[in-house]
C-alpha cells in the first residue's frame, strides 16, 4: 500500500526550499551523469579498438623469416633464408600446444603487387597464397561465393577469392563475380568468392584490397617451389602464446641452421601479448573511470547528507512531537532515509537518463566506421549497478542525519524551539 502520509511529508520537505533541493539534487545528478558519460566514452574507445582487431584469434602469433644476425655452422651472418611448407608438419608434430598453423606466401614477394585484369578493368593488387585454415585465424565475412577449401589446394586449382575493394574495382556494381575469370600475372583464375574484412579502418582497407589464391597454386604460379613467407599460429586456449613462441623458434632454428640464440633472424608478432596489453590498458581506464565517477558521486552524497542535516535541524520539533505521540525511532529513521533515498533516486535517474541521452546523441553524430570512437554504450548491467549505487548512496546520505535525530531526547526536541 502506498503510504500517502509518508509521501506527503517527503514532498512537503523537499518543496519547502526548492532551490536548496534542486542544488542538492544537482550534486547527485552530476555524479551519476559523469559516471555514465565516462563509462560510455570508455566503452566507445574500447569498441573502436577491438573492432579494429576484427574477430582475430586472440591466442595467436605470426612468424616470418628475416636475415640471420649470427654466424652458425659455417654460415655467415646476414644470410637470407626462408621457411618451407614442411616446417608446418615439423611444428605440428613437435608442439602439441598448437591448434592451427596456416602458411601464407606472398605472390611476387612481400608487398609486391601483381597486375589483375577482368575484361576492360584492371588493377595492381597484393596476391597471397592462403590455406582454408586462414579463416579460423582471422575470419572474414563472405560477400559472394565461398572461402578456399582443401580441394583448391590439393588440385592446385586456379581459384581466386577477391577482397571487397578488388571486387569493386574489377566488377560492375552488383555483378555476381562467382565463376567469372580474372587474369592474374597472365594466367586466368576462376573467381570462387568475395570476402569482406571484419577489421575496421586502415587494417580493413588493406585486407579488402588483397587477392587470395590457394597456397599450393601460388607456389606454382609464382615459382616458389617450397617457400612460406609467414606462418600464422593459433595456440590451444589452455596455453599461453608466450610459452609456445620459444618452442616454435627453436624448431625453426634447428631446421634452417640458425644460431639458437639468434632471435633476430625471425620476425614475429605475438598477438596474444598485444591483446593482453590492450586488455590491461582498458582495465586501467575502466578502473580510473570508476574511481573518478564514484568520487564525484561521493561529493554529491556528502552534499545530500549535509542538506539533510540542516533540514532535520529545522524539523527537530516536529520529530519531537511525533515521538511524543508514539513514533518509534525506527519510524523516524525510516522517514528520513526514504526522504534522502527519494531525492537521490530521482536525481540519479535523471542523471542516468540524461547521460544515456547524450551518449546516444554522440553515437548518432560520429561516423559508424570511426577508428577512434565507436558504439559508445551503457549496457543494462551497468545501468542497474549505477541504480544500486544511487540507492545505497541515498541511504548513506540519510544514515548520519537520521541517527542524530533519534539521539536527541524527545523532550529536548520539543523544547528546542521554545
Amino acid at each position: 500500500m502506498i503510504d500517502i502520509d509518508k509521501w506527503q511529508e517527503i514532498f512537503h520537505t523537499l518543496k519547502q526550499n526548492r532551490l536548496r533541493t534542486a542544488l542538492t539534487a544537482f550534486g547527485i545528478f552530476w555524479g551519476v551523469f559523469m559516471l555514465v558519460i565516462m563509462l560510455g566514452a570508455g566503452s566507445g574507445l574500447e569498441n573502436a579498438v577491438y573492432s579494429n582487431m576484427g574477430d582475430f584469434a586472440k591466442n595467436s602469433m605470426f612468424i616470418w623469416a628475416q636475415h640471420t644476425t649470427m654466424p652458425y655452422k659455417g654460415f655467415p651472418r646476414n644470410r637470407s633464408y626462408h621457411f618451407e611448407y614442411s616446417d608446418k608438419y615439423a611444428l605440428e608434430e613437435n608442439i602439441p600446444e598448437i591448434e592451427i598453423i596456416a602458411p601464407t606466401v606472398n605472390g611476387g614477394g612481400y608487398r609486391q603487387t601483381t597486375l589483375v585484369v577482368h575484361g576492360l578493368k584492371k588493377g595492381e593488387f597484393n596476391v597471397l597464397g592462403k590455406t582454408p585454415q586462414e579463416n579460423n585465424i582471422d575470419p572474414v565475412d563472405i560477400a559472394w561465393g565461398r572461402f578456399l577449401n582443401e580441394y583448391d589446394l590439393l588440385e592446385r586449382r586456379k581459384s581466386v577469392l577477391l577482397g571487397y575493394r578488388v571486387y569493386e574495382e574489377l566488377f560492375d556494381k552488383g555483378e555476381d563475380p562467382v565463376n567469372k575469370y580474372v587474369r592474374i600475372n597472365g594466367i586466368y583464375f576462376q573467381v570462387i568468392g568475395v570476402y569482406k574484412s571484419k577489421h575496421s579502418g586502415g587494417w580493413g582497407e588493406n585486407q579488402n584490397s588483397e587477392i587470395w589464391i590457394p597456397f599450393s597454386t601460388a607456389q606454382q604460379v609464382y615459382n616458389y617451389p617450397n617457400k612460406v613467407d609467414h606462418f600464422s599460429i593459433v595456440v590451444k586456449p589452455e596455453y599461453e602464446v608466450k610459452q609456445v613462441e620459444g618452442k616454435v623458434m627453436a624448431i625453426l632454428a634447428k631446421r634452417h641452421n640458425l644460431h639458437p640464440e639468434d632471435k633476430a633472424a625471425f620476425g614475429y608478432n605475438n598477438v596474444g601479448e598485444e591483446f593482453k596489453k590492450m586488455n590491461g590498458l582498458f582495465l586501467g581506464i575502466r578502473g580510473l573511470i570508476w574511481i573518478v565517477g564514484i568520487g564525484t558521486l561521493l561529493a554529491g552524497i556528502i552534499g545530500v547528507s549535509n542538506i539533510m542535516l540542516i533540514i532535520l535541524r529545522e524539523r527537530t520539533v516536529e520529530f519531537g512531537i511525533k515521538r511524543a505521540i508514539g513514533a518509534t525511532p525506527k519510524k523516524i529513521v525510516m522517514s528520513v532515509l526514504s526522504e534522502s533515498v527519494f531525492l537521490t533516486l530521482i536525481a540519479g535517474l535523471v542523471g542516468l537518463m540524461f547521460g544515456v541521452f547524450i551518449i546516444e546523441l554522440v553515437n548518432s553524430v560520429i561516423p559508424p566506421d570511426s577508428e577512434m570512437f565507436r558504439n559508445p554504450e551503457v549496457d543494462f548491467k551497468l545501468a542497474v549497478s549505477a541504480l544500486i549505487i544511487i540507492i545505497i548512496s541515498g541511504m548513506l546520505a540519510g544514515v548520519i542525519p537520521s541517527r542524530r535525530v533519534v539521539s536527541i531526547k524527545p523532550i529536548e526536541a520539543i523544547r528546542s524551539e521554545q
Partner: protein
C-alpha cells in the same frame, strides 16, 4: 494509575549538576483530575515529562498502570506513549503542513491504522471538540483555542489512560482557557485521568486536586471545592 516514590532527577550540563526533583512521592488514581502547580523552576514540567516518559529519571520508582517504568528503550517508551498517554502542550505542537484531521489522526498512523479508517475516527473526535467544520484547515488558519482543541482531540484519539497537559492554557485568553478546561472536565468525566501543569490559580481551581511543587519537592496538596460538588 500512577504511583511515584522517592523520585530524583537532575540535569547534568558539563560540570554543573542541577538537582530538579528531590524525592517526589505521589499517587494518582484512575479517573482523577489533578493540577500540578509551582513557580518557574519548581520542577513541575520535569515531573510531567517523567510521567509522560519523555524524560528518564535517576533514582526512585515510577509505576504506570501497575508497570514499573525503568530502563526503557526508546522504542518501548514510544509504544507506551502511544498506547497509554496523550499529550497537550502549551504551544499546541501541531504539524504545520498537515490539516486538522490529519493532525488528529497521526497517533493512529503510528498504530498502523489504515488511512481511511483513521481519518474517519479523527472526524469523530473533531466532532467531539466541535471543530468538524475545520477538518481541512491547516493549523495556521486556526485560532489558539481551536488549535488547542485539535491538540486535545489528537491526545484523545488513541484512547489513552492519562492525558498530560503542560500549561495547556498558557497561550490562551481567559475565556478560551475556561472553554478548554471545560473540555478537560468532560474528558475526565468520561473516566480518563487528567494531569495539568499550570501556574495559574484559576486554572488549577478547575481541577479536583492541586499539588504544589516547590524546589523539587511537594510542598502541599489538597482537594478543591470542585471535588466536593461532584461527590
Amino acid at each position: 494509575m500512577i504511583s511515584i516514590s522517592e523520585l530524583h532527577k537532575s540535569y547534568v550540563t558539563g560540570l554543573n549538576s542541577l538537582h530538579v526533583l528531590k524525592g517526589i512521592n505521589l499517587t494518582i488514581e484512575e479517573g482523577e483530575m489533578v493540577s500540578i502547580m509551582g513557580s518557574s523552576g519548581s520542577g513541575k514540567s520535569t515531573l510531567l515529562n517523567v510521567i509522560g516518559l519523555l524524560d528518564a529519571y535517576d533514582t526512585g520508582k515510577y509505576h504506570l498502570n501497575g508497570t514499573l517504568m525503568e530502563n526503557m528503550s526508546e522504542t518501548k517508551a514510544a509504544w507506551y506513549r502511544n498506547q497509554m498517554i496523550g499529550f497537550v502542550f502549551q504551544s499546541f505542537n501541531l504539524i504545520a503542513f498537515k490539516n486538522a484531521m490529519e493532525n488528529v489522526a497521526l497517533p493512529l498512523y503510528y498504530q498502523k491504522v489504515g488511512r481511511r479508517k483513521r481519518n474517519k475516527i479523527a472526524m469523530e473526535y473533531l466532532e467531539k471538540v466541535g471543530l468538524a467544520d475545520w477538518a481541512h484547515h491547516t493549523p495556521n488558519e486556526l485560532s489558539g483555542g481551536q488549535k488547542q482543541r485539535i491538540a486535545i482531540a489528537r491526545a484523545l484519539i488513541s484512547k489513552p489512560k492519562v492525558i498530560l497537559a503542560d500549561e495547556p492554557t498558557g497561550a490562551l485568553d481567559t475565556h478560551t482557557s475556561y472553554e478548554v478546561m471545560e473540555l478537560f472536565k468532560e474528558i475526565n468525566n468520561a473516566g480518563i485521568t487528567v494531569i495539568i501543569v499550570t501556574h495559574e490559580k484559576d486554572i488549577s481551581e478547575r481541577t479536583k486536586r492541586i499539588i504544589h511543587l516547590k524546589d523539587g519537592l511537594i510542598e502541599k496538596e489538597y482537594k478543591t471545592k470542585l471535588n466536593l460538588s461532584y461527590a
